[in-house]
C-alpha cells in the first residue's frame, strides 16, 4: 500500500448526498479480476454520454460536459469534496480502487458509509470526516476559487486552507499507523499467531461444532 503522510492537492466538489458505490464504479466493471485499471470508468454513468462496457478505449468516448470532473479546472485533482453518506451501498472495494486509480488520495465529507470508509484505509486513500458547516464552507470556497487546494497532514491530523486556517480531524490510531507507514495489516495480524491459536484452542473446546 502507498503510504499517506502529507498532501497538498487540488480539490473537486461532488455536490450530492448519498453517492453510492454503484455510481462510483458501475457493476459491469466489477467483472475484472484485477485490482487496477478502474480509473477510466470512475463515475462512468455520470462522466460519459454513452453506456460503458469493460475493455473499451475510454479516450474515444463522448464526455458529459456537465459532469464536474470533466471540467478543465479540475484536471489533476487529488482531493474529492463530498456530501453525507459518501460510498453507501455495495461493499465493492473497486470503489476506492477506481478513485485512487483516477488520482484521488483523499475524500472529505461530513459522513461516510462504514464499509467504504474502511476500504479506503486498505488502499492508501484517506477519508476525512469534517463537520457539515466546514464542508459547506469548503464547497463554497472550491466553487469560488479556481485552483483551490487543501493541505492535508496526516501526522498532525490537520487540513490547512489557503488562508492558513487549520481544521483538525479524527482518525483511529491503528489506521493512521498503517496508512503513514503503508503497512499490510495481514502481516501485522500474523504477528499475533499465538493469540489466534490460543483463541482457537479455547473455542474448539467450548464450541466444537464450529471446527468440523
Amino acid at each position: 500500500m502507498t503510504p499517506f503522510t502529507r498532501l497538498l492537492g487540488l480539490v473537486a466538489p461532488m455536490d450530492r448526498a448519498n453517492v453510492d458505490t454503484d455510481a462510483i464504479i458501475p457493476k459491469q466493471f466489477l467483472k475484472s479480476i484485477k485490482r487496477s485499471g478502474f480509473g477510466p470508468n470512475l463515475f462512468d454513468e455520470w462522466r460519459y454520454l454513452d453506456v460503458g462496457e469493460p475493455g473499451q478505449d475510454c479516450s474515444a468516448r463522448p464526455l458529459n460536459p456537465d459532469f464536474v470532473l470533466n471540467q478543465p479546472r479540475y484536471r489533476g485533482v487529488q482531493i474529492l469534496l463530498a456530501r453525507d453518506n459518501f460510498g453507501c451501498g455495495s461493499s465493492r472495494e473497486h470503489a476506492p480502487w477506481a478513485l485512487q486509480d483516477y488520482g484521488f488520495r483523499a475524500v472529505i465529507a461530513p459522513s461516510f458509509a462504514d464499509i467504504f470508509y474502511n476500504n479506503c484505509f486498505k488502499n492508501g486513500l484517506l477519508p476525512i470526516v469534517l463537520s457539515a458547516e466546514t464542508v459547506d464552507r469548503l464547497f463554497a470556497e472550491t466553487f469560488a476559487t479556481p485552483g483551490y487546494r487543501l493541505d492535508i497532514d496526516l501526522v498532525q491530523q490537520t487540513v490547512t486552507l489557503p488562508d492558513g486556517s487549520t481544521i483538525g480531524f479524527a482518525v483511529d490510531e491503528f489506521r493512521k499507523y498503517c496508512l503513514l507507514n503503508g503497512l499490510d495489516d495481514i502481516g501485522l495480524t500474523l504477528q499475533k499467531v499465538d493469540k489466534i491459536r490460543a483463541y482457537e484452542a479455547r473455542r474448539r473446546a467450548e464450541a466444537p461444532w464450529l471446527f468440523v
Binding site: L30, R92, I115, F174, W209
Partner: protein
C-alpha cells in the same frame, strides 16, 4: 452493571485480542465467498505465498455473473465466464469447497448459507458483499467486507475491527394482511434514512419481529445495510432452532444439544442499554413503494410522489429533484398510477420459498398485463427452485406469462444478461434503487414480492391489500 445486548455477546465471544484504542482482532467463524470480490484476494495470497488459515471455514459459490437461462450452455459473456472460472480455479488451488454453477445447491450466497446450515446462530459470518447482514437473522454477527478484508480473513481467520454502537429497532404489534418484512424494512429506512444506522449494529426486536418467519427476518436484516448499518440481527428463539435443525452443515446429536444450549442465551438481557432506540407500530406499516434513487425515498402505496418543495433541506431538495428527473416522475403523481415495464422477483432480499409463495398467491389464475414486457422470477437457489416446482409454483408463474429462471443475483444488479434498458421502469423485490443499478438508465421501484406480482398483473402499482 447493565446487562449485555445480543451484539455485546456475539462480539465478546469472538475477541482474540484488543488494543488500547479499541482496535480488536475478531475471530471469523464462517467466510462466504463469491466470484466478484474474491479474485484479487486470492491473487494477494498467491503473491505473498500465503495459504488460507482454515480453508474449511470458507465456502464459495458463483452467483453474481451466472446466467439465469440456458445454463447448460455455460456463460456466453467471456468476461463473466473468466470471473467464474477464476473462482473455480482459486477454490481448487486453495482447497475451498465450492457449489459450482450447475450444482443444485448453487444459489445466491446469502440464500445458500442459511439453507445449508453453513450460517449458524452465534457465528461471526463475513462475505465480500454488503448484504451479508442477512445472516444476522439467525442471531449471528454478520457483515460485509471489502476485498482486502476477504484476503485478511483468508490469511488469518480474523479481522481488525472496532466495535460499533448498538441500536435497537423495535416493532411491536401485528403486521396487517399483505404487509411483509420487506415493507417493515422499507418503512424503517424511510424513518431513519440510508445513513441512520451508520456506525451502528442494529438489533430488530419486538413482537412483530418475533412473529416473522426466519425468511422474513432475513429480508429485514438483509436491508439493514440500506439503513447504513453493516450488521442487522435478531435474537435466537425456537423458530431459529427449528429452521437450523437438520440442515446439512448444522451440528447433530450431542453437538446439537451443546450448541442449542448456547444459542438459547443469544438474546439481549432485559436491563441492557442501547446507544439508540427506534420504535415503530406494526399496525402503522402499510405496503411501501420507493419512488426515487435511494431506498430512503419511499412512500406508502396509497400516497403520491412527494414534492421536492417539501424536502427538509436544500441538499435533499436537490437530491429529490435529481431523483424525479432520473425516474421520469412528476411530483404529486399517485403511486398507483405509475405503470411498469418489467417486474423482477428475486435477489438475496426476496427469493426464498416464502417470497415465491406470496407472489404466486397473487398471480394464481391471472395474467401478466400486456404492457408489462417481462415479468421474471429468479429463485434464490437450486433447492428453492426445486421445492417451488414440487409445489407447482413454476406453473402458476408460467401460466400467468412470467418467466421462470435459474438461480442467481440476476437483475438485482444486472451483472449478467438480465437488465433494464435505459428508461425502463421496474417493480423489483431487490434492495437498491440506485441510478443504473439494474442497468444504465433503468428505473427501479423497490417493493415486496406480493406487491411486485400485483404490479405485473395490473401493469401499474396497486395496493395488494385490496387486490
Amino acid at each position: 452493571m447493565a446487562g449485555l445486548t445480543l451484539y455485546d455477546k456475539l462480539w465478546q465471544a469472538h475477541v482474540v485480542d484488543e488494543a488500547k484504542d479499541g482496535a480488536t482482532l475478531l475471530y471469523i467463524d464462517r467466510h462466504l465467498v463469491h466470484e466478484v470480490t474474491s479474485p484479487q484476494a486470492f491473487e494477494g495470497l498467491r503473491l505473498a505465498g500465503r495459504k488460507p488459515w482454515r480453508a474449511k471455514s470458507a465456502i464459495a459459490v458463483p452467483d453474481h455473473n451466472v446466467p439465469t437461462t440456458q445454463r447448460a450452455a455455460g456463460i456466453a459473456d467471456p468476461v463473466s465466464r473468466l470471473q467464474v472460472e477464476t473462482l473455480d480455479r482459486n477454490c481448487a488451488d486453495f482447497g475451498i469447497e465450492e457449489f459450482k454453477m450447475n450444482d443444485v445447491r448453487q444459489g445466491i450466497v446469502h440464500v445458500i448459507g442459511p439453507e445449508e446450515g453453513l450460517t449458524l446462530p452465534g457465528m461471526t459470518v463475513v462475505c465480500g458483499d454488503s448484504h451479508t447482514s442477512t445472516h444476522g437473522a439467525f442471531g449471528a454477527l454478520a457483515f460485509g467486507i471489502g476485498t482486502s478484508e476477504v484476503e485478511h480473513v483468508l490469511a488469518t481467520q480474523c479481522l481488525v475491527a472496532k466495535k460499533s454502537k448498538a441500536m435497537r429497532i423495535t416493532v411491536e404489534g401485528v403486521l396487517g394482511q399483505g404487509v411483509t418484512a420487506k415493507d417493515v424494512a422499507l418503512a424503517v429506512i424511510g424513518r431513519i434514512g440510508t445513513a441512520g444506522g451508520t456506525g451502528y449494529a442494529v438489533e430488530f426486536a419486538g413482537s412483530a419481529i418475533r412473529g416473522l418467519s426466519l425468511e422474513g427476518r432475513m429480508t429485514l436484516c438483509n436491508m439493514a445495510i440500506e439503513a447504513g448499518a453493516r450488521a442487522g440481527m435478531v435474537a435466537v428463539d425456537d423458530k431459529t432452532l427449528d429452521y437450523v435443525k437438520g440442515r446439512p452443515y448444522a451440528p447433530q446429536g450431542a453437538q446439537w444439544e451443546q450448541a442449542a444450549a448456547w444459542w438459547r442465551t443469544l438474546h439481549t438481557d432485559p436491563d441492557a442499554r442501547f446507544d439508540a432506540e427506534v420504535s415503530l407500530r406494526a399496525e402503522d406499516i402499510v405496503p411501501q413503494v420507493t419512488w426515487g434513487t435511494s431506498p430512503e425515498m419511499v412512500v406508502t402505496v396509497d400516497s403520491r410522489v412527494p414534492d421536492p418543495a417539501g424536502a427538509p433541506n436544500a441538499v435533499k431538495r436537490q437530491d429529490w429533484e435529481r431523483a424525479l428527473q432520473y425516474m421520469g416522475l412528476a411530483a404529486g403523481t399517485p403511486i398507483q398510477e405509475i405503470a411498469v415495464d418489467k417486474v423482477f422477483i428475486g435477489s438475496c432480499t426476496n427469493s426464498r420459498i416464502e417470497d415465491l409463495r406470496a407472489a404466486a398467491a397473487v398471480v394464481k389464475g391471472r395474467r401478466k398485463a400486456d404492457g408489462v414486457k417481462l415479468a421474471m422470477v429468479v429463485p434464490g437457489s437450486g433447492l428453492i427452485k426445486r421445492q417451488a416446482e414440487q409445489e407447482g409454483l413454476d406453473r402458476v408463474f408460467v401460466d400467468a406469462g412470467f418467466e421462470w429462471r435459474e438461480p442467481g443475483c440476476s437483475m438485482c444488479l444486472a451483472m449478467n444478461a438480465d437488465r433494464l434498458e435505459p428508461g425502463e421502469r421496474c417493480a423489483s423485490t431487490s434492495n437498491r434503487n440506485f441510478e443504473g443499478r439494474q442497468g444504465a438508465g433503468g428505473r427501479t421501484h423497490l417493493v415486496s414480492p406480493a406487491m411486485a406480482a400485483a404490479a405485473a398483473i395490473a401493469g401499474h402499482f396497486v395496493d395488494v391489500r385490496h387486490f
